[in-house]
């Protein structure tokens, strides 16, 4: 038709083919449905609600200011709850991200379009990592900062140690994003994905009691050490060890997920 502009073909080939479109779709499953609202309320309720319980747990302070002990408790609980419940939240939110697409048939449909298999996996990792970190880490952290500054005054928690501890929490949650997505490429049932991932998370409360050095390279120690970074600024051993160990495990999970999905037959 005269004046009509021709459609411009997508040029990306190789491992990024279709990535942009998939990322847009993945964000859409969060933000073009009510899922975002559910997670916003859920994680404010769970993490910041827990903090409120701790804060008001023994009644209001007579002096108007709370003790160091109360502040410590708040920080401890934030990282413990954020780590354990947040980890479970990550697993629950992502348990079906790959499995559902494989079993429903939508993955097979997508892979008849010019979409690279690696782009499929990367889109699941990136979009879900950004989104769950926003809802499970960033939003509750803003809540904590508001709560702490109102209760203990400006300067609490100190910015740099707190940011470092937040980085540790982010690494922890990223590992569970990659681990859950990897499991989604390996097994064919959501229950198997969440059961295995939650089992691994819970094992963090058992295995270190049997063999403590495991904490120096596994993600299990991260949320135990993070409060100490904020409160004391010191660690039983260099914090980079479990951070580096967890990052290596995360990269391995991503590599396995891509490798496995490249070989998936539909």
């Amino acid at each position: 038709m005269p004046g009509e502009q021709a459609l411009v073909p997508v040029r990306a080939l190789g491992w990024t083919a279709g990535l942009r479109n998939m990322l847009d779709k993945e964000y859409g499953t969060w933000f073009r449905t009510r899922r975002w609202l559910l997670h916003l309320l859920l994680w404010i309720g769970v993490i910041n609600g827990f903090l409120m319980l701790v804060y008001f747990g023994d009644g209001p302070s007579k002096s108007g200011h709370h003790s160091w002990q109360k502040y410590s408790e708040l920080i401890e609980v934030f990282f413990r709850v954020g780590g354990m419940f947040g980890g479970i939240g990550v697993i629950t939110a992502l348990q079906g991200a790959v499995v559902r697409e494989r079993t429903m048939g939508t993955a097979a449909w997508l892979l008849t379009k010019p979409l690279a298999r690696s782009a499929f996996v990367v889109s699941k990792l990136v979009a879900n990592a950004v989104t769950v970190l926003f809802f499970i880490v960033v939003i509750p952290t803003v809540g904590l900062l508001i709560q702490a500054r109102l209760a203990f005054g400006p300067g609490y928690p100190p910015a740099l140690p707190f940011l470092a501890a937040m980085g540790v929490l982010v690494v922890h949650q990223l590992f569970y994003v990659a681990f859950t997505v990897m499991l989604g490429t390996l097994v064919s049932a959501r229950g198997a994905v969440s059961g295995t991932a939650i089992g691994f998370l819970i094992a963090g409360g058992i295995v270190p009691n049997i063999w403590p050095p495991v904490l120096t390279f596994m993600p299990w120690g991260l949320t135990q050490f993070a409060p100490g970074m904020v409160l004391h600024g010191k660690m039983p051993f260099p914090v980079w060890m479990p951070v580096a160990g967890t990052l290596v495990l995360t990269v391995i999970c991503v590599a396995v997920a891509v490798w496995r999905f490249e070989r998936e037959e539909f």
């Binding site: 997508v10 190789g14 449909w109 008849t112």
Partner: protein, 321 residues
Amino acid sequence: MTNPDLAIRTSGLTKTYKGVEAVRGIDLEVPRNTIFGFLGPNGAGKTTTIKLLLGLAKPTAGGAEVFGQDIGRDTLEIRRRVGYLAQDPRYYDHMTARETLRFTARFFYQGPGEGIERRIGETLELVGLADKADRPIKGFSGGERQRLGIAQAQINQPDLLILDEPAASLDPMGRRDVLAVMANLREHTTIFYSTHILEDVQRVSDIVAIMHLGRLIAQAPIGELLAGQSGEVVFVVTLKGEGAEAQARVSGLPWVTGLEEQRQNGTAQWHVRVSDAEAAEHELLRAILASERVTVTAFGRQRFDLEEVFMRIVEEADNAR
């Protein structure tokens, strides 16, 4: 060697799942701009073959080319030029038909947005879903889902449209609509579709291939297939009168390979098998009418029903095992 006239060419394409050969060394040739019916009973290996062509599964042995490109090495390039409708198409239920097509189109085109929306509108019109474009597909009927399936397969105006049992789950009206859409698209694209509904094949296909137990047991233009197999042609003659003399004369012709007679109510029907169809068309009727004792009331080449042909070929393949 790549043949530019072929949309699909497979050579010794084989797929084995846990020791079971789903596809056994098939050699298939699909010419461009044809409607190619890929027939076979359930479990024949049709869907597996399609999955191999699309890169959803990897061949155990052999290979295939789509538009001269290798299905293993060039799968992304192939998928740019192909539209596919699955046997049981699944989409995201939270999306509307328009959103589904927009999402699909974005795998092929980066813009302009206005052009993409226009293409989506045209495609929705083509499949008759324009009035349901903005409803979530969760509530779509089987026929509507199938039409959406054709729309998403057609959104990139592909050079090759692969349809896996496009009419299997549809009522007669839905089937008629789908066949009409296929007929409309034949001018611009090659259509390769699998089915077990023989009536549909007879209505729209140019060429037919038959799969059975993972093997390709026949491939021919539909007219040739319906006229008879493997060079053997049968002429049907209906006649009245005393036919013994004519029968003797016909049986003596060098290209007649067999003659069967059925009698009913004073009328005889002969099935004359011949090895040279041209000679038979020219001389058979004359040879019969040379006898003044018979009157021929009907004469012509036997047209087989596709179901008959299909059943015979499948049975022959079973007997040959």
